[in-house]
């Protein structure tokens, strides 16, 4: 399995508090992604990074920010958590051009976040 860890694995917080989720990889892959997964919606891309300090928005980026100061770490921050951000968050990595086709993404174990 790809070396991807997420922390924390579970978190319960209150509305209005800031929350930071961490994704750490040991594969030296250039691309990193944050997804959220909710019942009936599959996975939706929040933000992604294509290099250190290079990030861009995904499909559902409102209310989230990201930072990538090192290749191995990608942080997702909820500045002021809301109940609508209760979800399972997955981090993924990929390295373009290694598979000969479309990028293959490798996913972390997920973080279950509950905002009360």
């Amino acid at each position: 399995d790809a070396g991807i860890t997420q922390s924390p694995r579970h978190k319960v917080t209150e509305t209005g508090t800031p929350v930071t989720l961490r994704c750490h990889q040991t594969e030296n892959h250039r691309y990193m992604y944050w997804y959220r997964q909710d019942p009936g919606h599959g996975l939706r891309l929040i933000h992604y990074s294509y290099g250190v300090k290079d990030t861009d928005k995904g499909e559902v980026s409102d209310g989230y920010s990201v930072s990538r100061s090192k290749t191995e770490d990608f942080l997702l921050t909820l500045e002021s958590a809301t109940s609508s951000q209760t979800s399972v968050y997955f981090c993924a990595i990929s390295e373009p051009g290694t598979s000969g086709g479309a990028d293959t993404q490798y996913f972390g174990p997920g973080t279950r976040l509950t905002v009360l």
Binding site: G42, F90, A92, A102
Partner: protein
């Protein structure tokens, strides 16, 4: 963006062959077709990828007709452990940020 359509759910029995079809009518010339598998409480896992005709690996086969507007994931002789959600994705190299996962197909295998 190439959108995909797949059945919401499917049921089968152990030992059977299961075929899950995905429709992608507006697939682009440079797009590849990729399938992922997701077990409960885990992240998705890559199963197979193809561009045209047939691809086979130790887990599954992928059939892609000449017009590439659909694809079929074939799981031979399924077991209970194949119960999962299967996602069909369409996209080109270095465009993973533009790939949409959708809701997938929930496959349930019964004894």
């Amino acid at each position: 963006l190439a959108k995909t359509t797949q059945p919401i759910s499917m049921d089968s029995y152990e030992g059977q062959e299961v075929n899950i079809t995905c429709s992608h009518n507006n697939i682009a010339t440079n797009d590849y077709i990729t399938w992922y598998q997701q077990f409960p409480s885990q992240g998705p896992r890559f199963i197979i990828q193809g561009y045209k005709t047939k691809v086979t690996n130790e887990v599954a086969s992928l059939f892609i007709p000449a017009d590439r507007k659909s694809s079929t994931l074939s799981l031979p002789r399924v077991s209970l452990s194949d119960t999962a959600v299967y996602y069909c994705l369409v996209g080109e190299n270095s465009s993973a940020s533009k790939i949409i996962f959708g809701s997938g197909t929930r496959l349930s295998i019964r004894p």
